[in-house]
């Protein structure tokens, strides 16, 4: 059953009754709110202001918006200087370019410097769709979570994206936020708790723990509902913060279920699943299956077609659940 404390949307299993909105839209709203609450907040764009939803901020606070042009390395280094001075800069680009192209600048000028730059990586994951492999960033979580001092957050829907953006504005440390282009069901509500570093149980179950991040969590909830009809009760956990991982929440869950499936729109290598495996191998080893990209690039297609083709939808998750149960 769903966890009442998560205060999720009603009619959860009927996608048509849920609002459909991209997490990048939540970022746009969160950025405006952050700007209203704290005048140190600034936004920088590298020629992708509208599609990364920084435009409303740019129009509302023109003096706090900086256009750097198509130059992602400069995007980071300018932001590092702003943060070093005392500003709270949010840099918006596509994840393929930032942190894809400017990794060293993030490592040196944000993380070793330890200044609170907020990196918004947009159009992440396979669901970017028709743009194809070059723009479908599937390695960003791995890149960012390997860096000391960096916080990594992957919001599951537009409402959580807004909360994550606001929270990042106030955490005073380097932070990576990952957003999707495609609209996805909004299944959390304004009342759903959100705290950086604190995972949230969305559904309670005793047989398998499904731990995921990002919009695919909705597919996990669908899979859990269908499996429940077959007598398999899944615990679904929203691990929106990939780093620092909420180890206690995950360990507590697998102590009960003795099996885990990780779910993410990212390469299996280095992502949330890897973080979970590192945690459990050390603390409470159990069989794990990984739902994610299996060491390959994406291709053009619609988001739904690609999610299905690469086994990331509820069917793929169900297959992984059944497999992990046989390994218990």
């Amino acid at each position: 059953m769903f966890n009442p404390a998560a205060k999720l949307a009603t009619n959860l299993s009927d996608k048509s009754k849920l609002e459909s909105k991209a997490t990048r839209d939540g970022y746009g709203l969160g950025l405006i709110k952050a700007g209203e609450q704290d005048e140190r907040v600034m936004a920088l764009s590298a020629d992708l202001t509208e599609s990364t939803r920084a435009l409303a901020f740019a129009e509302k606070f023109p003096e706090r918006f900086i256009q750097v042009g198509i130059a992602e390395q400069n995007l980071v280094t300018i932001a590092s200087g702003l943060a070093n001075y005392g500003k709270i800069p949010f840099i918006s680009s596509y994840a393929a370019f930032s942190p894809g192209r400017n990794y060293e600048q993030i490592r040196t000028t944000v993380c070793i410097n330890n200044v609170p730059v907020k990196i918004a990586g947009h159009h992440a994951g396979i669901s970017v769709g028709p743009d194809g492999a070059t723009h479908q960033m599937l390695e960003d979580i791995a890149l960012m979570r390997a860096l000391p001092n960096m916080v990594v957050i992957v919001p599951c829907d537009a409402v959580e994206a807004e909360k994550a953006t606001l929270a990042a504005a106030g955490n005073n440390v380097p932070t990576y936020l990952r957003f999707s282009r495609e609209k996805s069901p909004v299944f959390t509500t304004a009342e759903t708790p959100f705290e950086i570093g604190r995972a949230l149980v969305l559904r309670r179950g005793k047989d398998v723990s499904l731990v995921g991040c990002g919009p695919l969590l909705y597919e996990a909830l669908l899979a859990a509902e269908e499996l429940s009809k077959a007598g398999i009760e899944c615990e679904v956990i929203n691990s929106h913060t990939v780093k620092p991982l909420d180890k206690n929440a995950i360990i507590e869950s697998v102590k009960k279920t003795k099996a885990v499936v990780s779910i993410e729109e990212h390469q299996i290598a280095g992502g949330l699943g890897s973080a979970i495996a590192e945690c459990l191998a050390e603390n409470y080893p159990v069989p794990q299956e990984f739902v994610g990209m299996k060491d390959r690039f994406g291709e053009s297609g619609t988001a739904a077609e690609l999610i299905e083709k690469f086994g990331l939808n509820s069917n793929g998750i169900k297959t992984a659940v059944k497999k992990v149960i046989t390994r218990k």
Partner: protein, 286 residues
């Protein structure tokens, strides 16, 4: 009207010798590190720390301090030496350079030592950070000036040209860039590895005010900084022509000394040469 009185000039020139001595001593103790670059920039760092910068060694986080961003972090021994002589920390601590637990990391780290503004070493990203600081300062109408010291070789980095374009666009006149134009990099002469000229015309094309000075003439350098601060319409770059290894004839102009420290015997000889130089300065200003 010269910028510096003779007494001040003599004081700065003698201070630069002390800083060169410290560089040799610290590199000898470290057993690794870069020699030529720090020696070549000793005059400019002396001028900055002992005449130009608005700063307070007892209060390194002073909000109104001028910001000195060192982009080419590998020449940090000259900055450490200047900072120690200015009173940021004991001169003795210089001998901990590159040692376990030292605040004086092989490449500078912002969080380790108060008074360093940024972490650097990987080239090409200092100007962007300086520009971010200068942009924020202008937004807040803060009165300090931001300086960014760069090498010539790092102008081969794409990131740097992105930043040059940015500073040109936003006309950050509260920022002054200083290029250590010593013509060497690890693999040889810059113009052979990857030609940079004309740096002057390139910066000009990016809408900067460009000046060229002798990087070992304190008078000329200080006057150039005055001019840079006086120009309100445009950011300024000072291309400082320097001699790598300046002050020690065996090292001067020799790119092999870019990334090599002196051994015991060499250090002894070099320190002797620097004392001779000190005597020469004293007699010239009599």
């Amino acid at each position: 009207m010269p910028h510096l009185h003779d007494d001040k000039l003599k004081e700065l020139e003698l201070k630069a010798v002390q800083i060169r001595e410290s560089i040799i001593e610290m590199l000898l103790a470290a057993g690794s590190g870069h020699t030529a670059g720090p020696l070549g920039m000793a005059d400019i760092f002396t001028a900055l720390y002992f005449h130009i910068l608005k700063h307070d060694p007892a209060n390194p986080d002073w909000a109104e301090r001028d910001r000195l961003i060192l982009s080419n972090g590998h020449i940090v021994p000259v900055r450490y030496a200047a900072m120690a002589h200015a009173g940021y920390f004991p001169v003795d601590e210089l001998k901990t350079l590159r040692k376990l637990g030292s605040r004086l990391q092989g490449h500078p780290e912002r969080e380790r030592l108060p008074g360093l503004e940024t972490t650097s070493g990987p080239l090409g990203s200092g100007l962007g950070q300086a520009a971010g600081i200068a942009y924020a300062a202008r937004l807040d109408q803060a009165k300090f000036h931001t300086f960014c010291v760069m090498s010539d070789g790092e102008h081969e980095e794409g990131n740097l040209w992105e930043s040059i374009m940015f500073v040109g666009k936003y006309q950050l006149s509260n920022l002054t860039a200083i290029i250590d134009r010593n013509n060497i990099q690890i693999d040889g002469m810059t113009e052979k590895v990857m030609p940079l000229e004309s740096l002057h015309r390139k910066y000009g094309a990016f809408n900067w005010h460009v000046m060229e000075v002798d990087g070992h003439n304190m008078q000329e350098f200080c006057e150039a900084v005055d001019e840079a601060k006086a120009i309100y319409e445009r950011p300024t770059v000072i291309i400082a022509h320097t001699i790598p290894g300046k002050g020690i004839p065996e090292i001067e102009f020799d790119y092999k000394w870019h990334g090599m420290p002196p051994n015991q015997e060499q250090a002894k000889k070099f320190l002797h040469e620097l004392r001779t130089l000190q005597g020469k300065i004293e007699s010239e200003h009599q």
